[in-house]
């Protein structure tokens, strides 16, 4: 796109940024014409957020520069970005939770050393904006009491209140139902009408194709391609994103489900604040099948995994597993569940699956550290652990195959391999597995998918949680859909398609007749 007559709303030249050992951005160039919606896609860890945070002055680039409306601007902090008319809605909201919407909006733009006047003016201005962009919200609500959808609106209002002409949204739909997402896009269009330039980050191809004018693709910290959305398609983008042809399906034979290994009956769970996170979830998991759990992230999948694996205690209901009945009164913790041959690959390897400060061989026994294999009466058998770790690294092609390397220094994919190897090699009866391929490169993805299927074929029962619909549909034999902590639908993998699942995930399947769809 060589549109040189009018200057670009924003233009990046050779932006680079490294975090310690990670080259998050490398010589990035980007040109965004005024009044367009520009998509940026890329895998997890590709460097999208980093790049946006640099534009917004949250991080400082190691090299390169930024032009706004043809003028070189020197953005060293968010203040200067705001001055340059840039606003950003962060992937993880930047809100003070115990402040009201109003306080959050004026923070940093109070207008005067004493709040009184500023607050008053802000109120009127906000009501105006809310009307203009149909962003209605009660400005006196405390943010932590708002649903995520509305919290996002607060973020958008913050940007608009500061008169942003360029609006960056980092994975705004990650937390939204497809239907909420549609409303968001309508807002974006009206912003576009007003001449606002929008930078939209996502790795959902559907949204890109549906709503952007141009799209740029990032991979491994580099900008690998620019396309006019009209001139491209899902397959091309997917290929660009991951660098080689994607197999969206896994070749697997039909499931031969055996008897039930794990069953949950009306399981509910309340969190510390007393909010009901799981609502009477019931499910049956049979040997030799893969049960997929679909849902927008944050609708109880994590809680379900935690309760099933014994990390958190359930509040109501009961679980039957390996002949034992587990309920609020007779709970079992994670290690007890392991002893009963349940393995668990957690959703977030950094937060849960690993201790990044440990050497690989230590991390490779996490959860099994009490087992007699590794322990004498008093002391642990270091050598046994190291040797076993060596073998597994070889078997699972972990690179580098060095048991003494700090876990943190393995790449995301290799870390994931270490975790999956640890759990699978225990030869469990039931395997709970969350986001198995998050932030994992395509080669590793195939490998992992095949492992899961072959595990199923050896008669294990597998419960798969993933936010990637493709992954769910490709692997599962049966699919449960979760919404707001409850199971709202079950269907056979064969009858599943994105639209149906999308509606179920929005708990709006009944509206189907009104033909509500993306």
């Amino acid at each position: 796109m060589t549109n040189t007559t009018t200057p670009y709303a924003i233009e990046l030249r050779d932006i680079s940024k490294r975090f310690g050992a990670v080259q998050a951005n490398k010589d990035i160039c980007l040109q965004v014409p005024k009044g367009t919606i520009h998509g940026i896609i890329g895998e997890n860890g590709a460097g999208k957020s980093t790049l946006m945070s640099i534009i917004y002055g949250f991080y400082e680039a190691d090299s390169g520069h930024i032009e706004v409306d043809g003028e070189i601007v020197n953005i060293r902090n968010s203040q200067e970005a705001i001055k340059a008319g840039i606003g950003m809605v962060h992937q993880h909201f930047m809100l003070v939770e115990n402040f009201t919407v109003l306080e959050n909006v004026i923070l940093g733009a109070e207008g005067g050393a004493v709040l009184r006047k500023g607050i008053h003016d802000a109120r009127t201005e906000l009501t105006r904006l809310a009307k203009e962009y149909s962003l209605d919200i009660d400005v006196d609500m405390v943010v932590e009491d708002l649903p995520v959808g509305l919290q996002q609106r607060v973020e958008i209002l913050k940007a608009l209140y500061r008169g942003a002409r360029i609006l960056i949204l980092d994975e705004p739909t990650g937390v939204l139902t497809p239907q909420e997402a549609d409303h968001l896009f309508r807002i974006l269009y009206s912003l576009k009408e007003q001449g606002v330039t929008v930078l939209l980050i996502t790795h959902k191809l559907r949204e890109i194709l549906a709503s952007t004018d141009n799209v740029s693709v990032m991979r491994q910290g580099e900008m690998v391609a620019h396309r006019e959305t009209a001139q491209t398609n899902k397959e091309e983008l997917a290929e660009l994103m991951v660098g080689k042809k994607v197999r969206l399906t896994v070749n697997k034979g039909d499931a031969t489900p055996g008897d039930t290994l794990l069953s949950a009956k009306n399981v509910s769970q309340f969190d510390a604040q007393g909010v009901k996170r799981l609502k009477n979830v019931s499910l049956e998991l049979r040997s030799g099948e893969i049960l997929g759990i679909a849902g927008v992230s944050g609708n109880g999948q994590s809680e379900l995994l935690n309760v099933l694996s014994g990390i958190t205690e359930m509040s109501e209901g009961e679980i039957h597993f390996a002949g034992a009945t587990i309920n609020a009164n007779s709970p079992k913790n994670a290690s007890q569940m392991r002893d009963m041959k349940m393995a668990h690959v957690p959703e977030d390897r950094h937060k849960m699956g690993l201790v990044t400060g440990f050497e690989a061989y230590e991390a490779a026994v996490l959860g099994y550290h009490n087992s007699d294999v590794y322990n004498g009466k008093v002391f642990m058998h270091r050598k046994v652990m190291v040797d076993e770790c060596k073998d597994r690294m070889a078997a699972w092609d972990v690179r580098p195959p060095n048991p003494h390397l700090k876990t943190a220094n393995f790449s995301g994919g290799n870390q994931q391999k270490i975790v999956i190897a640890r759990e699978v090699e225990q030869n469990p009866d039931v395997l709970l597995i969350g986001q198995p391929t998050r932030g994992v490169d395509i080669g590793a993805i195939e490998n992992i998918h095949e492992q899961i299927v072959s595990l199923r074929d050896t008669g294990k029962a597998i419960l798969l949680v993933s936010v990637e619909l493709d992954e769910i549909m490709a692997l599962s034999d049966r699919i449960l859909v979760m919404f707001d902590g409850a199971v709202v639908g079950e269907l056979d993998a064969k009858d599943a398609n994105e639209r149906v699942l999308g509606l179920m995930m929005a708990n709006a399947y009944s509206d189907d007749e009104q033909g509500e769809s993306a």
Binding site: A21, F58, S78, M94, L95, L107, G108, V114, L115, K158
Partner: protein, 322 residues
């Protein structure tokens, strides 16, 4: 009876003053996310600086200024460690307390050769009690006269300043831009940062204010409540202020009442030393002395209400991992 009560409360005001100042100091610091157990050290440092300066220059006010400067300097060290270098707040606090404890005596000994004390202060070298207008006239008015003349009147200026700082702090924290940002930075520094405000600068301002107030507290000890500096004269007041801060749940007015309560207990303990209740025997003063700490522990344990501090308190603000 009524007289003794007035008398106790009067003492309570005197004893609470440094607690209130220090606790409010801590409030600014912790509301901005900086844990400050170096209140103790700041009070001690300022007490020494104030007494020394006042002895040398013959003016309590000069002493006050030096006290504040010393305390602010310590606060800046704390800030440098915790804000600029993401150091552990507790460790930094312990360091400062330790350094000050040793430094005051060492310098004092060198300068005044009085075993670490400063010379006794007299006249203008101290903040003297001031009598409020009509105090004498009011004397004989029943009840309120007592209260006005013997309780409210006849304290030194710093006492009144301390109590005046309570509404001021309330206003600053809840009604001003600085306060809004201060609270925000203690809850979610990232949000503040992305709003285009420098987290660092806000936090530095917070610790400076903290330093100033501790400075006043220290000066009060050595140039108002007492007449000169003695080694370790802060005697745990900083920690007790911290306790009061928690006990008041990081809110100005409750914090003041916590300080008054602790001060009252102290005043009681002093007078009950060696006091024998017929039948019961001697009062275990130590029990009363440790009551503030016990109460605070009970509160922290959630047996009397729940103390939930600022979310980001004690956590250094780090943008970039690795």
């Amino acid at each position: 009876m009524y007289d003794t009560l007035i008398q106790m409360l009067d003492a309570t005001m005197r004893v609470s003053t440094p607690l209130i100042l220090a606790a409010l100091a801590g409030l600014y610091s912790e509301r901005a996310g900086i844990v400050d157990i170096s209140l103790e050290g700041k009070i001690l440092g300022s007490a020494f600086a104030a007494a020394a300066a006042s002895a040398v220059f013959g003016s309590a006010w000069v002493g006050l200024i030096f006290g504040i400067m010393a305390s602010v300097m310590l606060a800046l060290i704390h800030g440098f460690a915790c804000i600029t270098h993401r150091g552990d707040h507790i460790v930094s606090g312990v360091a400062i307390n330790t350094i000050v404890a040793g430094m005051t005596v060492t310098l004092g000994l060198h300068w005044f050769n009085l075993g670490g004390q400063t010379p006794a202060l007299t006249g203008n070298e101290r903040f003297l009690d001031i009598t409020l207008p009509f105090a004498h006239a009011m004397q004989n008015v029943p009840v309120i006269g007592q209260i006005y003349t013997h309780l409210l009147s006849g304290h030194n200026i710093l006492v009144y300043l301390a109590f005046f700082m309570v509404p001021v702090t309330y206003w600053v924290i809840y009604k001003t831009r600085f306060g809004l940002r201060l609270r925000a930075v203690g809850e979610n520094p990232q949000a503040v940062d992305t709003a285009g405000i420098s987290v660092t600068w806000i936090r530095y301002r917070a610790v400076i204010v903290c330093g100033i107030l501790c400075g006043v507290a220290g000066a009060y000890l050595s140039t108002a409540h007492n007449a000169g500096f003695l080694k370790d004269m802060s005697a745990g007041k900083g920690y007790m202020a911290l306790a009061a801060l928690i006990f008041g749940k990081w809110r100005p007015v409750p914090v003041m009442f916590a300080c008054l309560l602790f001060g009252f207990l102290d005043a009681v303990a002093v007078r009950l030393q060696g006091f024998v209740i017929p039948g019961l025997g001697e009062v275990p003063v130590q029990a009363i002395e440790s009551l503030p700490y016990v109460l605070t522990v009970l509160l922290l344990a959630g047996f009397i209400g729940k103390a939930i501090g600022p979310k980001a308190v004690g956590r250094p603000y780090v943008k970039e991992r690795a």
